[in-house]
Subunit: 341 residues, 2 copies
């Protein structure tokens, strides 16, 4: 049914239908409610495509996942972020479309296609690792974009972002482990560290330095981004782990799970022999056994502010550029010796 047909049915004009269903106070309360009620009864809803074409608004926002993003089930941090965004955008009556930046179709990336075809009103971009073409597109400002989560290697002054302060997170881990002089400090990270991993390490070193402790080259272990790889890495370095008490800071929760499995298989006691702190606080690490001490990234805050900003920008409201670094906080669970500080 079209609005013209629905109008004829009720004996009013198409204009009145449009006004009533869009809640315009131009049509008197009683009439408006009557029309809304009828619409509900017959199941009439204004055609989304026609509406969008006319108003230049789709009522949909996109979430751009990063190139290196494997999957929602493998990367629970992003899954969690996604959950929060979905919920938050629903409050603003927006639908959500997920987009993968690696996807290419007819020489345009999915992101570029969707922006240029005006399929969404705005984008939430996870991380800053996007191609030059995509960055140009963002800067051209066809559609508001907010960057979130982890900063890439370059930070652009002209963009809106809400990132997690990885350096500060590492610092908290360093300050905590600094209190245990008898534990050898280790850092496990990924090969070819990006800005984010580097900053986590730098913060860790800064925290340790307050206790006159330093990380030597051989205290840094490298693996690939995955549970198995971290497991293998610890197994390869078992004499290092077994030679005395160690305090390991892991680049991410994912790696930490591998580290933990390996240490348990080696017969280490956690946290007496091996202490472990990681970063992200993906929901499952509180549930595994033993549960992981980790740096919690304030996802809720990040999402709530990003969504509100995005909606304002879509509505054409003037907003000052937002460029924030949010502080993680240390959550102590079973993999650390918990002392009062």
């Amino acid at each position: 049914m079209t609005s013209r047909e629905f109008a004829k049915m009720l004996g009013v004009s198409q204009s009145t239908i449009s006004r009533a269903l869009n809640g315009s106070t131009l049509v008197p309360d009683e009439k408006r409610h009557f029309i809304q009620q009828k619409a509900r009864e017959v199941g009439f809803i204004l055609n989304s495509q026609a509406k969008s074409l006319r108003t230049q608004k789709t009522g949909t926002i996109g979430i751009l996942f990063p190139k290196h993003f494997i999957s929602m089930s493998a990367n629970r941090m992003l899954a969690h972020l996604y959950d929060c965004i979905q919920q938050e955008m629903h409050k603003y009556n927006y639908d959500v479309m997920t987009v993968y930046s690696s996807a290419v179709n007819n020489d345009f990336s999915s992101f570029e296609r969707i922006v240029r075809a005006r399929k969404v009103d705005g984008f939430l971009v996870m991380r800053m690792e996007i191609s030059k073409e995509e960055l140009e597109l963002v800067k051209s400002d066809r559609v508001p974009c907010i960057f979130m989560m982890n900063a890439g290697d370059k930070i652009y002054n002209s963009l809106n972002y809400l990132f997690s302060d990885s350096e500060y997170g590492g610092y908290l881990a360093g300050r905590y482990f600094g209190k245990f002089p008898k534990y050898r400090k280790l850092f496990i990270t990924v090969y070819e560290e990006k800005r984010d991993a580097r900053r986590r390490r730098e913060g860790f070193e800064r925290g340790l330095s307050e206790f006159d402790c330093q990380l030597a080259d051989e205290d840094i272990l490298y693996c690939n981004l995955g549970v198995d790889s971290a497991y293998q890495c610890i197994m390869k370095n078992k004499q290092l782990i077994k030679s005395g008490k160690v305090a390991i800071f892991s680049y991410s929760d994912t790696l930490a799970i591998g580290v933990l499995n390996a240490c348990l298989d080696l017969g280490c006691r956690v946290p007496e022999d091996v202490q472990l702190i990681s970063m992200d606080d993906i929901p499952c690490v509180a549930e595994i056994h033993p549960s992981l001490s980790t740096l919690h990234i304030p996802v809720e805050e990040m999402v709530s502010e990003s969504c509100s900003l995005l909606v304002d920008l879509i509505d054409g409201k003037k907003r000052k550029r937002v460029q924030k670094w949010l502080h993680p906080n240390l959550v102590l669970r079973d993999t650390t010796i918990n002392i009062e500080s």
Copy 2:
């Protein structure tokens, strides 16, 4: 830029632009390629809303998540399913919109709003627990819908579905545990079992019965749907767990993680004292320590067939109704004593 402006720029008509960019062979190869090339250079893409309004196709499909769905990060089975769908639909050049059935807006559920507003071309519906209004909408056939994953309490003859055969999964678990006469068999499930949990139990009992083994009422443990609740449940029944060797079949991987944590905390040896099989095979259960033996649901197959069917139905192709029950298969990992069968 509009297609009219782009046409003027190239000195051809709007019709030719439309034909060329849609790949119509009506326009000669050379001209078509030239126009496509130019479009790429200037970044012109046909407006999605205008195109959709004209063609009555949006190029987007919806995924309807169930009412009881908490989150993508908590329910990794659905996250995994989502990943597969996203990837598969990308092959067919569709974008994906995620929709939550509980969400209500102006008295229409999000699902109903999106279908009636024609915001998507088709829907993949996870589970069959949808409201009467929503079911009516599906049957009215405005938009093709395929049901997937776990069957609800009622199965409708007129619908397309690809479900996992829960009964058969339980049967395999029962047959496996039947080979261990010295182990007391237990089943842990949720309060107020829905069809799916019931069928898993019935299959388990059928498998056990082939070994003359039966489940007594007190062999069935109940908890809520969550890791913690399963943990507490085992802790409450510790005398039962510690009184001898047990073989536990868990309704789901999520519960199994809680069960496993509890058994380890109770000092049980896994799998010597406690064997555990669960169902779903969410990606993380292979990574935890010890890794879970579980019934793998053939998600890839389910997704690939559902997507292909959905796309055909959207294209108006005649397809016979698909109503399938896919067989899970048993994956033995660390929580079972692995014998050759």
